[in-house]
């Protein structure tokens, strides 16, 4: 294992309290602060901060808009190349979540040069570059500083037709929700850190974390997708609720259909639950009604912050069926996990069935 590093070089994740998207600030906490910071609007800014969007969209002309996003976090794995890949796949995902295509990326790097050899830095950047290359975007340097703890991510620019931006707010009543990628990466990563994650589970986890959402996005764009987002720091429940709120609807989540990573439920049941999961539970529980008995492990998993998560798409029943078939044929893990409904009383609620 990593014992070969030994001596003075600490593991990349050694001092990290919350790696990946688990490091995200709490939703409630963040929103109350952001409410006091001015938002500088312009008519060209067609998607910004208010709809809980994944990225900002700026309209340049009638047929062109740029999508801008930035994402970075502390290491969640000890292998620096793998960390770079995951961070890049995660940053690029926000562009795909808007239905856009990434064109340009810049590195953001904080690195403790005293604690780690420069080869570690090189591997992180190479890992990131490999994913940017795969996405077809350009990578043009970036910015790095010396800090006490490592952090890596990217700022990414994408292009989209302004009328074809896919946001959280477009979902319609009756839409079926299609999710790509499995849920439970936060819990699995904590299990990995505790050396409780089996090799086969590790392989599946890493494949998912490093997978770009590019193919899923381009397949989805062939259908009439009404709303789309990616599942990241607020967990499945948080992102479902954001979609419900923005679309002024309620969500029905069929928990038995949600694909979970192997061992994730078992690990959650044994207490491998990241702090961010508890934070999400606290932020979102009051908007959730469990129609049926959902054990604590599965509840934890729907609150689990996801790093480099999949796409969540809302589209009509018939389209969803075809989309699922096409995703499956492309070898992408996908499932129909619920639907959007007209609220009986208040919008922005999640019913777990």
């Amino acid at each position: 294992m990593n014992e070969s590093f030994e001596s003075d070089v600490p593991k990349l994740t050694a001092r990290v309290k919350a790696g990946g998207c688990a490091a995200k600030l709490g939703s409630a906490e963040l929103q109350s602060i952001l409410a006091r910071v001015p938002v500088i609007q312009s008519p060209q800014l067609i998607a910004g901060i208010e709809g809980f969007e994944d990225a900002a969209v700026y309209k340049i002309s009638d047929d062109l808009a740029i999508v801008e996003t930035i994402d970075f976090f502390p290491p969640l794995v000890d292998d620096p190349f793998l960390f770079g890949q995951i961070a890049a796949a995660n940053a690029l995902s926000d562009v795909y979540a808007m239905g856009a295509k990434p064109i340009l990326a810049l590195n953001v790097l904080c690195f403790p040069t005293c604690d780690y050899p420069m080869s570690v830095l090189e591997e992180i950047l190479k890992g990131g570059a490999s994913k940017v290359e795969e996405s077809g975007a350009s990578l043009a340097g970036g910015h790095s500083i010396q800090t006490t703890d490592p952090v890596y991510g990217l700022a990414v620019t994408g292009l989209v037709h302004p009328d074809k931006v896919l946001t959280n707010s477009g979902a319609r009543a009756g839409d079926v929700l299609v999710l790509t990628k499995k849920i439970g990466s936060g819990v699995s990563l904590l299990g990995l850190k505790g050396e409780e994650l089996q090799p086969s589970s590790q392989i599946e986890l890493f494949e998912s974390l490093t997978a770009l959402n590019d193919k899923a996005c381009s397949i989805a764009l062939g259908y009439h997708v009404n709303g789309m987002t990616d599942i990241t720091g607020f967990g499945l429940a948080g992102h479902l609720l954001e979609m419900a709120r923005s679309s002024k609807l309620v969500v029905e989540l069929d928990i038995d259909r949600v694909p979970f990573f192997p061992q994730a439920a078992e690990l959650a049941g044994q207490g491998f639950v990241p702090a961010g999961t508890y934070g999400n539970r606290q932020s979102f529980s009051e908007f959730i009604t469990y129609i049926k008995d959902v054990n604590l492990e599965l509840q934890d998993l729907i609150f689990d912050p996801q790093t480099s998560g999949g796409l969540l798409m809302a589209l009509s029943d018939r389209d969803a069926e075809h989309l699922l078939r096409e995703l499956d044929a492309a070898g992408i893990v996908a499932a129909s996990i619920g639907r959007m409904l007209e609220p009986e009383s208040e919008a922005g609620h999640l019913f777990v069935v």
Partner: protein
């Protein structure tokens, strides 16, 4: 034999891993660990629940003290009064409460003792909140007769019951009682149970507390 371990300052999942190792040592009947955050405590609650270990926690200044206790099996198969056979039989049933030992709180009415109704009901709230705050985590909280009213939508006890649930306790109401008091709309179906399961919980508990 008891053992006390200081796990403060350790980053997740270290406290869980170290405690798990201690639990796996069957010779330790009781383990006391010190942890730094409430999240550590909640993760230990999950661990204890998965291993059928009783857990008590308390805040002590800036940290938390967590006591894990291996439950004694009070009902032995050799008991002469027949309870042993029931317990043994219940252990064989799959997926149920068969292995549930520990403390069960039984709320057979919506008050704490007898007296002025409003006062007695607020006392009950204080009672449950105190159990929660003092770190005791009963295996299950069962409600029957007018006790099921505690799950009504406007009940002031609902929030604390939810806290228990989130800490891994089973919270159940008698279905017959829910129907009798016309609370079907208020009580989610997953909280409804029957007399059979109430009996199983009680018969396999270390002790049953009923205020």
């Amino acid at each position: 034999m008891s053992d006390e371990i200081d796990l403060r300052g350790l980053v997740c999942p270290e406290p869980v891993l170290r405690t798990k190792k201690l639990i796996d040592d069957e010779s330790l009947k009781q383990i006391t660990v010190l942890v730094e955050t409430e999240i550590n405590v909640k993760n230990l609650e999950r661990l204890a629940h998965s291993k059928n270990i009783d857990l008590t926690s308390s805040k002590e200044g800036e940290h938390f003290k967590v006591i894990l206790r291996r439950p004694e099996r009070l009902v032995q198969d050799s008991d002469s009064d027949g309870e042993g056979r029931i317990a043994a039989a219940s252990r064989e049933r799959a997926g149920g409460v068969a292995e549930s030992v520990g403390t069960v709180v039984f709320l057979g009415k919506n008050t704490f003792g007898e007296g002025d109704p409003d006062f007695s009901s607020s006392l009950l709230n204080v009672f449950l909140q105190t159990i929660y705050d003092s770190g005791h985590r009963p295996r299950a909280i069962l409600m029957a007769n007018s006790g099921v009213k505690l799950l009504a939508r406007d009940s002031n006890v609902r929030p604390v019951l939810r806290q228990f649930e989130e800490a891994g306790c089973d919270v159940f109401a008698c279905g017959l009682c829910v129907e009798f008091y016309g609370l079907k709309e208020d009580v989610p179906t997953e909280k409804i149970t029957n007399m059979f399961s109430i009996v199983e919980f009680m018969m396999t508990a270390d002790k049953v507390i009923s205020p």
